[in-house]
Structures are given as C-alpha cells and as structure tokens.
Amino acid sequence: MNYKYFPHTDEDIKSMLDKCGLKSLADLYEDIPGELVLHRDYELPEEMSEVEVRKMFDELGEYNQTLNCFIGAGVYNHYSPSVINAILSRSEFLTSYTPYQAEISQGTLQYIFEYQSMMAALTGMEVSNASMYDGTTATAEAMMMAVANAKKRNKVLISDTMNPIVTRVVETYAKFHGIVVEHIAAVDGVTSREDFENKVSQGDVAGVIVAAPNFYGIVEDYTGWADTCHDNKALFIMNCNASALGVIKTPGEWGADVAVGDGQSLGIPMNFGGPYVGYLCTSKKLIRKMPGRIVGATKDMDGKRTFVLTLQAREQHIRREKATSNICSNQSLMALYVTIYMALMGKQGLKEVNALSYSNAHYLADELCKLDDFELAYPGKPFLHEFAVKYKGENINELLDTMLDAGIQFGLKIDDHTLLLCATETLSKDDIDDAVCICEGFQNIDK
C-alpha cells in the first residue's frame, strides 16, 4: 500500500496486527456477520491525482456563470476584505474542533467572545450565543425558545412580510414541534398593525416574528409593537439583516426580546447558499432559555483572564430529551469570518457600506422608474438596498433571459409583474447603467 493520506507501510500493518493478535485487516471485522460485510468495491471512480482533481473542478466550473448580481432576497453580494480568508485558512482555527479543552483553545474561545460582543452591539441586545447554522434555522430556534418560555402557549405569529424562505423553515420546525404558526397579513408591503393587534390579543400567542428590513426591502415602523407583545405576554422577535443593523434602528431599541438572522451580509461570499452563519441575541433575563453554545469570561488557576464554554446545563448533552434545542455546536469558523469583518469595518465602515448600497439602489430605482414599464411596487415606503418594482411589460421571462445573456441576474421574480431588486456597494454606476439600458432597449420589443 502506498497512498498519501495513509502512512502505514506493509511492515507497520503487520507489526500492529501482531500486537493485536490478528493476522489480517479482515480479522478486525471478524465480529461482523459475513453476510453484512460488503464484498465488492464501491461503484465510484478510481483515485484521481491533484492534477486531475483540479481539472475536474475547472471543467465543472465552466458550467457556472458568475453574474452581475442585482439579486438579494436574503443573500447579499457585499465586499469581502482579503484579510478574512487569509486568517480563516490558518489551520489552528480551521482544523480544531469545539473548544472542549479550554487550555489549548483560547484562540477559538476568544474570537467567539468577541463575536458575541460585536453581535450584541450590532443588534442592541444584551447577550448573544456563539452562533447558529444560518438565519432560517436561527429564526426557528427563536420560535421554539418563545414557546418554551411561555410554557403553556404553542402559537407563534409571523409577518407576511418575512422572507418566505425563512417562513418555510420556521413552519417546518413548527409542524414537527407541535407549534401553530399564524400569519400576520401584509398591507402595502408592510405588516398590518390591526391584524397583529387582533391576533396577539387572543391571549394564546407565545411569540411574534417580524422582519427588518422586510422581504420587500422596506424598513418598517415597529413603534409600540414590543409593548403590545409584552402586554399580551408574548416575546417580540425580530429577524434583521445584519449589515443593515449598522444603520437602522436595532431590535434592542425597538424593545425586542430576541434578535435573529443571517450574518451572511457581513461580507460572507454567496457561495451558492452556504456556509453562512445564523445569529441569535437576547436579553440577560432570557439567557438561560437561549439555545446554542455560549462563551463566558473567567480566570485560570493563576488568575489570568480567560474564556470558556459556559451555561452548558442548558444544552443537549446534559439535558438529552429534556433539551429544547438539539444544537450541539456553533458555526464557529463563519462566526470568526464576521468577527474579522466587523473588526475591519468598525463603526464607520458598516455605515459606509450601507450608504453606498443606499445610493446604488435608489439610483437604480429612479432610473428604472423613468422608463414606462417600471414603477415602484410600494411607492413612498423607505428602503435601503433592496426594493420591489412592478413590471408592466408582458414578457418578464424574456427580459430576464436577455439580462442573463448579458451576464446579469436581474433580481428575483416574485410574480409575472414583480421583481425584487437589490444593489450593494459591489455594483458600480456603470453596472447599473448597463442594466437600465437593457431594460430601455427591451421596452421597445416587449409591447
């Protein structure tokens, strides 16, 4: 045998088997009934050299097209500083596991502590867990947290302005966990206050979940919502775009009990859907109800300030079937990703990213609406980097195909007459002008 990942020489194998009193590698499986053993090779390709593996992925890559991205819908193409990948590829971070042995894991523990601190600052909440899989599952966890907190209530309200991708995951978890999800109607692109008040005042609601900005990019006004929730003993849960929190009113300021969402917008490459990172922040009062890992500060025997996994009595490996979450790890490396991003961008950078995206998106909206075929779906509603437009032409699919031919993903088609468009700081004015120009040209064809 001779393979780069197996250090065993024939001689090694023989002497190790001797020590075990065995004659062959097959003897190591003598306890498995013969009929259960696989007596053939897998039907898979033969070993490939690195040269061949590289060629294979190059060839596969030719069937992909990296497009100019006017699409968001929960995943945003933001600038990603080169520092981050360089640090993430350090194998001390990459090839370690959950910091069970704190004495040789201070690196991981420290950046998780920084992550928690930054997420708390960003959301305006008091505490954060060590991160979760993604924004959709983090929202589902927040729902289960609300139900566990309310004890005898099993109903949760979710706004119809939530990204439907998030709602689908929340509803799946709910169905299996025995939670009833009711929708709060959307009127004119924002959550209906009347419908919310009617439903939450029934006295059986454990939590209310809303979005900021919402699916249509609109920044909604939640003045008084937290109070109404609390008057009715329900938790107020906000799913927020992490990058936008650099400028918009925070869940903490709105009086929310739980802030959740995806951290992807903090510079994580789109990567065809993952890995991203979910965040979940709450108040100190609810810390023991919070799912997921938590890192806390402590001291070592010599009195040095150190960091350690803490409050583990809440977790699955201790509580087993009594646990209210089965999360047994965090999305550590991606938490490090957004930590370094926030360290680099700092106070000012997040604001600048939002200002640039705002300018680009509003310019795009203005230019499109100069054309006869386009108008804002929700005129007058405040938005940052994403907005819905009505398309009055007949052949939206042809328009989108024309865009694809020009290397542009022109938003997400919500229906045959609505597009959800997004522009971040990664687009230039020329990129936007090019796209608008195609719309203008297409207008004359699509009559």
Partner: protein, 492 residues
C-alpha cells in the same frame, strides 16, 4: 501552538479614527442615507472596534497561536473523527467559479454547482447502500432532526398517528434524544448489556404500534459493532417502525459495511467526520440525510435532480416533502470539499479508510490496556473507551489524565462520555496517523499512568505548559460575563 498566552481582545486595541477597510468612492452621492426617516435609524453607531489592517492580522494570528488543531498534533477526540483535512479540498472549495454564485441564480447558470451536488448525493448513496440523499442539513444534529422528520412524515402519510415514540440506546450521543424531542417524539431508552451492545431482550417489550422507530449508531459509542443488528432491525420493522442510523461512527464502516445492508432505512452522515471536511472550531459542518427506496418523497425541499431528457440538473420541490430545513442547498462549501475528498481517494482508497482507522484504534487499545481499565475486551472498531486508570488507588481522575496530555502536546480524548462508565476516556485515532505518532502517544499515556502513582500532584494540577492553566468553570457559570461591555462593567 505557542504556549505564551496572548489574551488581548480586539476592543482593547481600538483607537478612535482608525479603519481597516477600503470601499469604492460614492459616484451617486446625491442619494443620501441621511434621507431615511430618522425614527427608523439607530441612534448611535454600534460599539465596534476601530483598528487598522495590520493590527487585525496580527491580533487574529496571535490568537490562533493559542489554538490546537489537527495540523498541530495528534487529536484523538473520540466520536469526532478528527482526521486530516486535505489541502486540495480547501483549494477546490475556494474555486472562483463557485464562490460567487447566488443561491437563487437562474439554474441554467449554476449547472456545474448542481452537478457537484448531484454527484455527491450519488456517491453517498452508493457508500451507504441507500437510495437517495439530500445534502441540505447543516450539521450532524441537524441531519438527525431531518431524518426524524422523514420518519414522522412517513408514518403520517399512512395515516398512522399513534407512533409517537422513538427508541434510543442508553449509550447514544446526547443529540439523539434531543433531536427526537425537538421533532416532537417521546424518547424510550433501551439498556445496554455488559458487553456494551443493545440488550435485545430489553428491546422486545418496548416494541408496539406506538413506536415510530429506533435510532442507533453502529459501531456504537463504545466502538463495539452491534452484532445483533440484523435481528434488531427485523424486530423494529415487524413492529412497523423504521431504523435510523446516526452516522457519527461511519468511518470504520468505509469499505467494509453499508448501513443500508444492515437494515437501516434513514441515516445522516457527518461530512466533517467521515469525509474529511474541517471542523472549523465547531462548524460549519454538513449532515446529509439518506433514505431507503420508498422514502425519497419525504426528503426536504429543495431537491436537486438530474433531468435525463435535457441532460441537465434541476432544483425542484414536491408537496409530499417534510418541508424545508434550510434556506437553500445546505453548506455548499462543505459539499465541495467532501466531493474533492471522494474524488481524490477513489474507490480503491476509500475502502482502506475503515480498516486502517480500526487497526489504529485496536493497536492503541492493546498497547495501553495494562495501565488503563478496559471495560470491554475484544476487537473494537474506530474507537474504544477506557474507564480511567487501572490503578484506582491514586485519586487521579480521567480529567487529570486529559489535562496532563495537553502538557505533552496532545489533544485529549473525549472524556466522561459515554455515560456508561464513570471515568470514560474515549480514544479515536483515525486512519491518517502513523505508527510512530501512535507509539509516541502510547508512551506518553504510560508515562502519565506512572506519574499518577508516583507524583499524583503533578497530574492533578496539570496542565503546566499550556498558554493558560485550568479554568474556573464555576465562576463562569455562576457569574456569566458574555460580552465585552459586561467585562468592562465587571472590572469597575
């Protein structure tokens, strides 16, 4: 690893006015963020640090030097399969033709990515002896939950609503009962026999028409192959239940045995264990779920399918599905790495993974069983459990042994799990470790056993040579300080 503690926090390096980024100039300055309604905007900028680029690079580099990874040294953490994470996998997952794809891009523009996804689905099905896989779940525990949702959906689709219980062995990973509870099942525990395997006689009376299924890992958490598996699967199936395979311990089975052939109906695989993707300090992982023929329709949406007619790949959703457990198609970057791993090894090397991992575990066990208590004799699979030191007169615990190992430059094994043994020390070496590495570890374990008898204080106060000494867990739990703001307030 650097044994000098770094210990600073990024907030402590911050100075007003510094910045670590560069952004394009705003060509459209007439559109001003300040025009947003003020009452919708935050009052103050978030309290993030202000640091220059080099300070950030040095800070995290110094921090990483206080961390131990597989690339640093031997990491025999039982049940976690800390195998080597090949560098070619990293290179491939960062391939520029894949990283810039938006998950909602038109499918015609992501055919290469869908082909990777589809090929990995096929490869895992072949390796597992099951029909179809989804790669959407984000981690092992997430895979368990998804698999149990498949189980429940199957019973409900037949109108069988009384199956509310799942049977789980007392030796199971903690996530098994937690996943069952999150999925809305009640947990019934089945006992182990003295040899560590499921007690079939204890199982029989538990089986009735309220049982949705049984979760098992095989080999179990003691590293013992459940040799009665065929009988157990038959009993559960006769009672109308389904068999769930927790793939946490799949590594020793590679090349030797397929869960589908053992009678399992649903399983998850931890790509970050068996298929070499890095653990990343706790994630991202990936927990693909596979099912036997007849259960495919319950897998979560969205699904990737090959369309033979158009020779292309499609992303589809179906109504019978359990729903969605992820926004998109899972942790695609992890999927890329696992596919690179399977291509790199090929069928001829994949079949050697199980036997070599098993050889390494048995070799350590045989070399150390005169100093450490081996509760279960016989051939183990990829891992095994010692119940502390053989010499019980020393008061040196498993925790002390683990901490002393750190002084010698090894990561500790998993300790105090499984719960069946009070001083459990669970060792899993993986197939990538050489005889010399194992001999070095064995020598140190023997030295520690000797120290426990001769100089027990040295072991009980370990570690001595690490960046920090033993930590005060109680202080952290009684007085939780979990953000920098709290830390500053606490110091005043």
């Amino acid at each position: 690893m650097n044994n000098v503690y770094y210990g600073k926090l990024i907030f402590e390096l911050s100075k007003e006015g510094r910045c670590g980024y560069s952004l394009p100039k705003n060509e459209l300055g007439q559109y001003k963020l300040e025009d947003m309604p003020a009452h919708l905007m935050r009052d103050e900028a978030p309290a993030l640090p202000q640091v220059d680029e080099l300070t950030v690079v040095r800070h995290y580099t110094n921090m990483s030097n206080n961390n131990f990874g597989v690339d640093t040294g031997f990491y025999p953490l039982g049940s976690c399969t800390m195998k080597y994470n090949p560098k070619i996998n990293e290179e491939m997952c960062n391939h520029h033709a894949f990283t810039g794809l938006h998950p909602l891009q038109d499918p015609s523009t992501v055919q290469g990515a869908l082909e990777v996804y589809s090929n990995l689905q096929y490869s895992l099905a072949e390796i597992s002896g099951l029909s179809e896989f989804t790669l959407n779940p984000f981690a092992g525990a997430h895979g368990e939950l998804t698999g149990l949702m498949v189980m429940k959906s199957y019973h409900l689709s037949r109108g069988d609503e009384k199956r509310t219980k799942v049977i789980i062995p007392d030796s199971a990973h903690g996530t098994n009962p937690a996943s069952a509870a999150v999925c809305g099942f009640n947990v019934v525990v089945v006992k182990s026999r003295p040899d560590g395997t499921v007690d079939v006689e204890d199982l029989r009376p538990l089986l009735d028409d309220t049982i949705a299924g049984m979760m098992m890992t095989n080999p179990n958490t003691l590293g013992i192959f459940e040799h009665n598996i065929a009988e157990i699967a038959q009993l559960v199936h006769e009672a109308g239940g389904l068999m769930y395979y927790d793939g946490a311990n799949l590594n020793p089975m590679l090349g030797m045995c397929r869960p589908g052939d053992l009678g399992f109906d649903i399983m998850h695989i931890n790509l970050h264990k068996t298929f070499s993707t890095p653990h990343g300090g706790g994630g991202p992982g990936s927990g693909p779920v596979g099912v036997r023929e007849g259960l495919e329709q319950f897998l979560p949406n969205p699904r990737v399918v090959a369309d033979e007619e158009t020779m292309s790949f499609k992303v589809v959703s179906n109504d019978e599905s359990l729903g969605s457990v992820s926004g998109f198609l899972g942790n695609f970057g992890v999927i890329m790495r696992a596919y690179a791993y399977i291509l790199t090894l090929g069928k001829e090397n994949l079949r050697m993974v199980g036997p070599l991992a098993t050889l390494n575990a048995n070799y350590i066990k045989e070399c150390l069983k005169d100093c450490y208590e081996l509760p279960i004799e016989g051939v183990c699979k990829h891992e095994f459990v010692f119940d502390g030191l053989k010499d019980k007169s020393t008061e040196v615990t498993t925790l002390d042994v683990a901490k002393r190992l750190l002084d010698y430059g090894y990561h500790a094994p998993t300790i105090y799990f499984p719960l069946l043994f009070h001083q459990a020390l669970m060792i899993e070496p993986t197939e990538n470790e050489s005889k010399e590495t194992l001999d070095g570890f064995i020598e140190v374990m023997r030295t520690i056993a000797r120290e426990a008898s001769e100089t027990p204080e040295l072991v009980k106060t370990a570690p001595h040579n690490t960046p920090v000494r033993r930590l005060d867990d109680t202080l952290a739990a009684l007085h939780p300080v979990v953000t920098y703001t709290e830390l500053v307030a606490d110091n005043q």
